[in-house]
């Protein structure tokens, strides 16, 4: 019983961490109509950078996130006019063209990471990585708690930003009715660029979070991507709190499945669930 409860708690924490990795993708898909398959590869790159900062300069990953997220935001601002706008403009199906573009980008990043850091798996070890933390009577891993808090803060912060600030409202306006937004004077193109840059900025937070929990190699982004896509599809693209709820569900399946069933069953359950949801509610559960 105690073990079951503990895996439940770890599952929820894992869900929060995954929510952080997924929410930016959901934002870009729902609000800028960009299908960014490089989202977790960008996150993984940040994981490696945080690892580098930790091992060479002793900088804590929590501090590294504070440096990397703004840097990635700027990278997003640079990527939009150079790579994305030309790929989206005049294309009948931007989801297809951007997914091919970003798949290519992910593979380039994977090879670059492999070149710089070798294909050997890495583990980020901080003083709190393996420290047992007792929360409400459950004992969980320290790095899991940190990653979960980062993810949760990110999701709640984005939710607040989108619903409580004027720019957030303008972002929703462009997503819901682009022509209507232009007619009230919103520069839809600039807003899309901002959303995309925000999304890339969040990739840093989610990616460093996951890199704190799992050992990672240059190809890990693909495993992360599968789970993150599942979360976004179930939550509904652009639904921020939906992403959180869906990620918590996935975390529970992973946490409980890990305790009760052989590892191989996890994916079977998760993707079985995905197929069912795609059949019944293809636009997501919370949209």
């Amino acid at each position: 019983m105690g073990m079951l409860v503990t895996s439940l708690a770890s599952g929820l924490l894992l869900g929060c961490a995954y929510a952080g990795a997924a929410v930016g993708l959901s934002l870009a898909m729902g609000m800028a109509r960009v299908f960014n398959l490089a989202h977790t590869a960008l996150g993984l790159t940040c994981g490696y950078l945080a690892y580098f900062l930790l091992t060479t300069a002793g900088i804590d990953p929590m501090v590294a996130v504070g440096l990397l997220a703004p840097l990635m935001f700027l990278a997003g601002l640079a990527l939009w006019p150079t790579l994305f706008r030309p790929t989206v403009r005049g294309v009948a199906d931007p989801a297809l063209s951007t997914s091919i573009l970003t798949l290519g980008l992910a593979i380039v990043l994977e090879n670059a990471l492999s070149k710089v850091w070798t294909p050997n798996p890495r583990i980020m070890s901080t003083p709190y990585s393996n420290q047992a933390i007792t929360l409400f009577g459950f004992t969980v891993q320290g790095s899991l708690v940190v990653a979960a808090v980062l993810g949760l803060l990110l999701v709640l912060g984005l939710h607040w930003f989108l619903n409580r600030t004027f720019i957030g409202l303008a972002i929703q306006a462009v997503a819901q009715e682009p022509d209507g937004a232009r007619l009230v004077g919103i520069r839809a193109e600039l807003v899309s660029m901002l959303v995309f840059a925000l999304s890339v900025g969040t990739a840093a937070i989610g990616g460093v979070g996951l890199a704190m929990i799992y050992s990672f190699g240059p190809a890990s982004y693909f495993d992360w991507l599968l789970t993150v896509l599942l979360i976004v599809v179930v939550g509904g693209a652009g639904a921020i709190l939906g992403t959180l709820i869906s990620a918590l569900g996935v975390g529970l399946v992973l946490g409980l499945g890990g305790a009760l069933l052989p590892q191989a069953w996890n994916s079977l359950i998760l993707f079985g669930l995905l197929l069912t949801i795609l059949l019944l509610r293809p636009y997501g559960l919370f949209k």
Binding site: E177, G180, R182, L183, V184
Partner: protein, 235 residues
């Protein structure tokens, strides 16, 4: 105030508007009538910047705005309330209105603008916390006009503000529009299928058929014109 000359606009491979010219003077209430598919909506979209014209000129208050993007044209005070309303369905009434006052020029006066809109349409005030997508057709139309007014227009373009409304509600909306012109001296360019009612309220009107402006004149003369009566009034 608005001068459109020789405007040609393609909608797909075919020209939907051919060399159309019209004028709206400051303070005037101008109607634009014509059968479905005549190109009225396309013409308005090219004026407000949602579509780029292939030829011709659009001059607003002495500024040549031909081919400008919609968001810049809005900044000048030419505000378009489009056909189909184009509201933000999953935002509240209040947020839709606030976004109407998005531009700095309008945002400075947004509290006053909101109060004016609620005075004009008390129903919107009752429903201010409701999502726009859950409003009735008439309320959505009020909101669309309200959002346009929040942008502090000097020229307000209304495309089919009465479409899909009951005759009573359609007349109510048209009366409000008339008041905007007579009480606030707001310059208006209005398209409506309520031809008789529109011509009774408007100062001047243009008739559009198959992409061309085929007739124009003071509204009171057009309404008496046997040709117009035959085609649009069904008498």
């Amino acid at each position: 105030m608005l001068e459109v000359s020789g405007l040609t606009v393609y909608y797909g491979p075919l020209p939907a508007v051919r060399e159309a010219s019209l004028k709206v003077a400051a303070g005037q209430f101008v109607g634009l009538i014509g059968p479905n598919g005549a190109g009225k909506t396309t013409l308005l979209k090219a004026v407000s910047g949602l579509l780029r014209p292939a030829a011709g000129r659009v001059v607003f208050d002495g500024t040549d705005i031909t081919g400008w993007p919609a968001e810049r044209i809005c900044e000048l005070g030419l505000v378009h309330v489009p056909e189909g309303r184009k509201l933000f369905p999953r935002l509240t009434v209040l947020d839709n209105l606030r976004l109407g006052a998005y531009l700095p020029r309008a945002r400075a006066e947004s509290d006053r603008a909101l109060k004016e809109v609620f005075d004009l349409f008390p129903r919107l005030y009752e429903r201010r916390r409701q999502l726009a997508g859950t409003l009735s057709g008439g309320e959505q139309q009020m909101l669309a006009i309200g959002r346009g007014l929040a942008a502090r227009p000097r020229l307000l373009i209304l495309d089919e503000p009465t479409l899909g409304l009951s005759p009573r509600l359609a007349h109510e909306i048209l009366e409000v529009i008339k008041r905007l012109n007579s009480e606030r001296r707001l310059t208006l360019l209005v398209v409506s299928q309520e031809v008789v009612h529109l011509l009774k309220l408007a100062d001047y009107a243009f008739v559009m058929e198959t992409g061309r402006i085929t007739a124009e004149g003071p509204a009171s003369e057009l309404i008496a014109d046997p040709k117009v009566r035959k085609v649009y009034v069904g008498l």
